[in-house]
Symmetry: C2
Subunit: 242 residues, 2 copies
């Protein structure tokens, strides 16, 4: 069992079906497939599916409904509560990144619920008492209220990235030093031919060019492009002379 | 001028006014106040404001409209393009966290645009050519398509958290070692009195109790609560004896 299979998003009394569907899409974007809702009336299925999009509609279809929060949470080993209000009565509150680190470990062997309150009021103290850990999303003081599905996205994103270590998804192959030196030699010859640099002290001028080209971290293909340009310039000069 | 004043969200041909409003709210949540849109028709103001909520409606009102992408981008020193498609033709693509680190530095002295394509197609190669840096949000392979405003939220959140170093927003005062040892002594006496632990070797049994209590990182107030319980137990025993 991998870690995401052990993670469930639990929405306590969400008011808008659109937010539930949107939360389902966010969860699926980040590899989380399990969604529980605590509601007193069934939310509009069409509205939920519209916002979930076709691909995440299975999450909405398989979503489990509960009438009471304690019933929804009863099968979990570890419960993370989300809150935007901070105070000594609430105990320690950590940020999403730190939460994700802890969850990556705990979810290996435990069922974890990430619990969100209703859009307007959030979780109250009576609901937060079920939680082993409280998390708050840092915001600007100007607007602290985050839309429910966007809060779900940030926590799911942090959980997902905590599990995928690679900082870069794709970097093409950089040019080798051999390729680069060949390119610089070619460039130098060409720049001398077009009288851009002094043939008596070409390396002095090349230093400046090397400096900015090395900062750009050239790829093999790009080194070839530069040599191709040099060849074209040289041929143009030869043709002119001829 | 602080860094967020130098950062602008640029939406290229967004299809849904609701997404523009929602993106405005996300930007404001994360301290970014500037929003540009490239559109051929003015989007519905009411729909945008509804999703922006009252507090972020100023961003929608002050939003700048452009007919062409190159016009929208002309005043920026550094442009970050978002893409979900990876390939060697697109060059190196980094993840949001790494992007945020770079932006935190660059935005000190430069105007930075974070550019997003339309909901369905994203940015094409012709539009990406303006970008100094490409960023992709990591997703599950099951559903790579992220809603526009949620993509805006993730990048704004990363930019915001890169600027606010504190990992914990609020941690109440932990109990001092003096308070804890007083509590453990009190607890030990009480546990001996109630015959829970052997009075000849109490520390052996206390080790297990200390182990789990120390893992919970007790606060001063909580240490006092435990001593209060001990006192109550002791008084109950004395009253019984009397």
């Amino acid at each position: 069992m991998n870690t995401t299979e052990n993670i469930t998003i639990v929405l306590n009394n969400p008011k808008y079906p659109g937010n539930i569907g949107s939360a389902a899409r966010c969860a699926k974007n980040m590899g989380i497939e399990s969604l529980f809702v605590v509601v007193h009336e069934y939310p509009d299925m069409e509205e939920m599916k519209k916002r979930a999009t076709h691909v995440a509609s299975d999450i909405v279809e398989n979503m489990r409904y509960f009438y009471r929060l304690d019933e929804a949470l009863s099968g979990f080993n570890y419960i993370v509560g989300t809150t935007s209000r901070l105070g000594s009565a609430r105990g320690p509150v950590i940020q999403p990144r730190e939460m994700a680190k802890q969850i990556a470990d705990i979810s290996q062997n435990n069922r974890v619920a990430i619990l969100f309150g209703p859009e307007d009021a959030g979780l109250n103290n009576d609901e937060l008492k079920y939680c082993h850990l409280l998390v708050t999303i840092p915001t600007s003081d100007e607007l602290k209220s985050i839309n429910l599905s966007h809060a779900v996205m940030i926590l799911c994103y942090e959980i997902f990235t905590a599990r995928t270590p690679s900082p870069n998804r794709f970097t093409p192959k950089l040019a080798t030093s051999f390729e680069l030196e060949g390119m610089y030699d070619h460039l130098k010859e060409m720049l001398v031919k077009i009288n851009y640099i002094n043939p008596e002290n070409p390396d002095y001028w090349m230093t400046n060019i090397r400096r900015f080209l090395s900062r750009t971290k050239l790829f093999s293909k790009e080194a070839q492009i530069i040599r191709g340009i040099c060849r074209k310039v040289e041929r143009s000069i030869e043709n002119k002379k001829a």
